[in-house]
Symmetry: C2
Subunit: 649 residues, 2 copies
């Protein structure tokens, strides 16, 4: 059996951006330069043409973007998306008979061959186009007649090759001979913050000005100027809901809580309410809304933590028992990793027959807080909830409110973390927390930025979290805190800190665990917010540098520079639109001064190999004249890094 369309000679393949062959949208942000590309080719050596067609899902008209031939049958075109939401694009290709004819004409004319018959062929091609394009037929027929009648070959060739004709003839194609790639691909365009954000995490209950008191949203409001001054644009709270009283955990995760123990905010729900309620000691819903508004005035968004799990006394357990697993002895199944038991937490059963209502209720939690003014959610342990739920929920929320950003807090296996990105999470925690050596950092950055991950996985680098105190910070102390902060903030355009503990350089582990002892998860802390620290000073400077340099607003523009010392890592970042270029050099040895020759990838800076240029260290203010090979020496007790701005001469 012969399928129709066998005379379509052009082949299209390897379309990009594409995530799993188009099963998932590729990610972009507003005004980002997006490259649409494909391999497009025909049999033989005839000229072909290719176009991308793109439209916002809400538009009815497609825009045609003629693609440009690059190399090895690869074609591409760039565009900037101006609207939030979902764009669709498809690729078409066809044999370009007119251009092909021109190519032959030019060569034959140059070789002095008789072109009389050639000109007739060209005129026929024009007539064919005229018949198909009534609006332009008069003009085209005039050209055709000129070609057929003029006796001066030079005039004819000039006419045939004119841009006017080229423009019109590009529009002409025989639809029966046009190859359309069968998949229409999707690009999700999000707001800038999805790609560039700076997070500070604190526990609101630890913000009271007096020791021993429970902090409130009003206390947090007082800290907003400080957070803004340090350069953070996102202030993220652990869950703010009522905390379970049944099986509540005590200090240091002990099994029994004393009467004064506040419990873990991730044990959500008690007789006072669940995921749509606020822990009364923090304040009221009105207080919370007021804080959101006040934060906005400081350029800060409040990010909420959503942990889809319940304390045993969460109202859902009674109102919707079908969403939990019940054991033959009539008890409800708590979370466990045998033989360990987590008796303060009940997981939802995503295999329940009532899964549709469960999904709807969980989504309504997001809707509730979006209505309250929240646009940024950090999702706790998303890898222990069904992937299909996330894909549906995030899609539904963002169709209505495309500004909403979801950060996936998954520290688990690579395929699982990737899938959450594909399912729609705008940002994801990463393995950065444990990538310390030059080779580890370079390999991981290459994976994140030079593979298909580039299109579905937006990293958010966290040197620490309330759950994770990595060995590098335990062993390396203050110097390590500064080094890891600079790496996070300059490698990734989104990064965050579990703030007070980080600023104050607290790094006492809980026994042999990679966790903080006397963890704030289980107790209320009191911080001296006015204390000056070297770490806090560097955070502030680095965040200012981030704000002022668009090169740091993208993760995907990183290019590593070779160095002669494995303790010295260096990378170049350039923003194509503004020409802003930085060279970052970091000493990974937090105990010793290290030096190296750094070999700059000159073409990435738009420079020739023999050029010199001025670099100004945005951390220290020093200026140097640099070339391709440059000597650096960094003392971690002073400053473990240079963040050089390239100033071309």
């Amino acid at each position: 059996m012969i399928q129709p369309g066998g005379n379509r000679r052009v082949i299209i393949t390897n379309v990009s951006p594409s995530v799993e062959g188009g099963l998932f949208p590729a990610k972009a942000v507003v005004n980002e330069t997006i490259t649409l590309s494909a391999d497009v080719f025909g049999d033989g050596h005839d000229e072909i043409a290719a176009s991308a067609f793109i439209k916002h899902k809400s538009d009815t008209q497609w825009t045609e973007l003629p693609m440009q031939f690059m190399v090895n049958d690869h074609w591409q075109i760039t565009f900037r998306a101006e609207k939030l939401g979902f764009y669709e694009f498809r690729i078409e290709g066809w044999e370009d008979h007119y251009t092909n004819w021109k190519k032959g004409l030019k060569k034959k004319y140059a070789a002095g061959q008789d072109i009389a018959v050639e000109l007739q062929i060209g005129a026929n091609l024009l007539k064919e186009a005229a018949a198909a394009m009534p609006a332009q037929s008069k003009q085209i027929l005039q050209w055709a007649n000129q070609l057929a009648q003029t006796t001066n070959p030079e005039e004819n060739v000039t006419l045939a090759l004119s841009d006017d004709i080229a423009k019109v003839m590009y529009q002409y194609r025989n639809p029966e001979l046009v190859t359309v790639y069968p998949t229409t691909f999707t690009i999700e365009v999000e707001r800038t913050k999805a790609a560039y954000s700076t997070w500070y995490e604190l526990f609101p209950r630890s913000t009271a000005s007096e020791p021993g008191k429970h902090g409130t949203f009003k206390d947090v409001a007082k800290l907003l100027p400080r957070v803004a001054k340090m350069g953070f644009d996102t202030l993220y709270f652990p869950p703010i809901h009522p905390i379970g009283e049944k099986n509540r955990k005590g200090r240091n995760n002990s099994l029994t809580a004393g009467p004064e123990d506040p419990g873990s905010p991730w044990a959500i729900g008690n007789r006072l309410g669940g995921h749509k309620a606020i822990h009364p000691e923090l304040g009221t819903l009105e207080d919370f809304k007021a804080l959101i508004v006040e934060a906005e005035q400081h350029g800060i968004e409040i990010a909420m933590d959503i942990a889809y799990q319940c304390a045993p006394d969460h109202p859902y357990v009674k109102s919707n028992p079908q969403w939990f697993i019940w054991r033959p002895d009539g008890t409800v199944q708590y979370a466990e990793n045998p033989p360990k038991k987590y008796e303060d937490i009940l997981p939802f059963n995503f295999e329940t027959d009532d899964w549709e209502n469960l999904w709807k209720e969980l989504k309504s939690v997001i809707d509730y807080w979006v209505d309250a003014g929240i646009r940024v959610f950090r999702i706790d342990n998303p890898h222990t909830k069904a992937f299909r739920f996330w894909q549906w929920m995030i899609g539904e929320v963002r169709v209505k409110t495309p500004e909403v950003i979801f950060l996936a807090e998954a520290f688990t296996r690579p395929r699982v973390m990737e899938r959450l990105g594909k399912a729609g999470f705008n940002q994801s925690y990463t393995y950065f927390t444990w990538r310390n050596t030059k080779q580890e950092l370079e390999e991981y950055m290459t994976e994140l930025t030079k593979t298909e991950m580039r299109y579905f996985y937006r990293p958010n680098f966290w040197p620490n979290t309330p759950d994770i105190l990595p060995p590098a910070l335990i062993k390396g102390g203050e110097n390590a805190h500064i080094t890891r902060l600079i790496l996070a903030a300059t490698l990734s355009s989104s990064y965050g800190l579990y703030g007070p503990v980080y600023e104050f350089g607290i790094n006492a582990p809980h026994g042999a665990k990679e966790e903080y002892v006397d963890n704030e998860k289980y107790e209320i802390k009191h911080w001296d917010w006015s204390a000056y620290t070297r770490i806090g000073e560097v955070i502030t400077r680095v965040n200012r540098i981030r704000k002022q340099n668009p090169a740091l607003h993208s993760t995907w523009n990183v290019e590593f520079a070779e160095t002669t010392n494995d303790q010295i890592i260096s990378y170049v970042k350039t923003d194509e639109d503004t020409g802003n270029s930085l060279i970052v050099v970091v000493n990974l040895d937090v105990f010793n001064t290290q030096s190296a020759q750094v070999k700059i990838p000159m073409p990435k800076l738009g420079l020739d190999y023999a050029d010199t240029y001025v670099v100004r260290d945005l951390l220290s203010g020093s200026k140097y004249t640099w070339g391709e090979f440059n000597f650096v020496e960094l003392n971690p007790y002073q400053m473990p890094a240079h963040i050089f701005k390239v100033e071309k001469q």
Copy 2:
């Protein structure tokens, strides 16, 4: 809107083998070990299971192959296809509740926890299965009752973990909770020769025993013992059809032929017939069929050349003028690459409105020769004919006669060569002809064997062809002929030579071109088939080594060994089924003796790093005791290579 199936928690992705996400079949040969694999995972930490389902397209029943967990959520299973033709496979995954329960039971029991309720849960899982599997329900219910009633926990745990229950419970799954990957993938299983073949090309017209005479099929028959003795299994002829008389080319591709000039066999067709006719001076169709049969008796298959193009006097030009392009002056369009003209060749117009009949006629040419007994076709310049035609034609031919092998003679851009492989060509010419340095060879082999190409592109390495005399052979003379032959024959499981010219070391170029002067394409040659040559001797030895060593029957098992000299390349090949292992070491410098240390990838030989083993050079007979690091020295005037067989102690 919520799609059904949201409670299916398992995710499947990255299925292999897959060519363009399943758009094209992956290639395999009969009895080859095929690995089916996928990333399969669920949310959380529960146990899952995955199976591949496979069937030959002609079968009605699927066979379930339970997959094994490897690492990082990757699952796989191997199978051997016993039938020629198309197999289909799909992947399924599901939460394995029973195994998950067992895992918890084991840990809780080991930790001394009370398992009474656990046992009830297990009994319930068994009852659920019993209800779904009536045939086995009696046995399952018996186990369930035992679990629920026995009071000895050790007995219960032993029963719960028994293989008998495991086997039955693997079969049980709730179909509503099984994830089925949406694409069903195809594997085309071909005969062994598609992957392992040894080609000799000669012009039948140059086989007459008397100089000046036109060779015949009967003359070729006399050479069969010689070809077989040299170890070739495929004897390939340029086109054997009547040669165009109009615009015939003379010697050395001159524009005008003398009355004695035989013309190029690729200018097909004259008043005596076209693609289904035989050039009368070669013999009759009966002679040809007799030759096919006689060749078979020597273990040799005759390969025909199919060039879909016409001489100006080909019968099609009159009978089917609509298949050609006609110019306004009433002449038919010949092939051209302006300003060059190829007036002895008319291309088909694959954009003709009558393309369906053109396709059918072109396919009928193959059918005709298949009926005559031919099973191997070398297709001339397939990249200048429509890709969709190949995909249809090859598919149709092979559904009926799956033994047929098509070799794509395309020397063109990478994406085009790749597409021909995807379209169904079983073997393809390659860039090997121009890959000379160690780095070039290693990179090219890696691309061919370690990327998706592995599944759709079967290389056939040719050091020369009648069209190509590469610089390496011009400059390097006899030594280069030997080196390039050994590389072709040991890197690739399929290779071929344009034979007589190669054996006799003829390498005089046509001016500055990379072509033979006095090219056999345009004149009849007379060869002294009895002459002894060093090149011929090495060909014979190497082909014997190929036959005796299954490690050389695959291209994809190549693993490079590091050497301390860029002029020395080394690689290991192992056949997993027989354990046959070879180490090949080649001196790429055809003028000077070179030496190096070779570092053997010991694990690829199934050896520990400290092991020693004996290697026997199959070319020279010498034996050495080797370890991980070994010294080699090779003189290209003696023998530029070792082909070591590994003999473990």
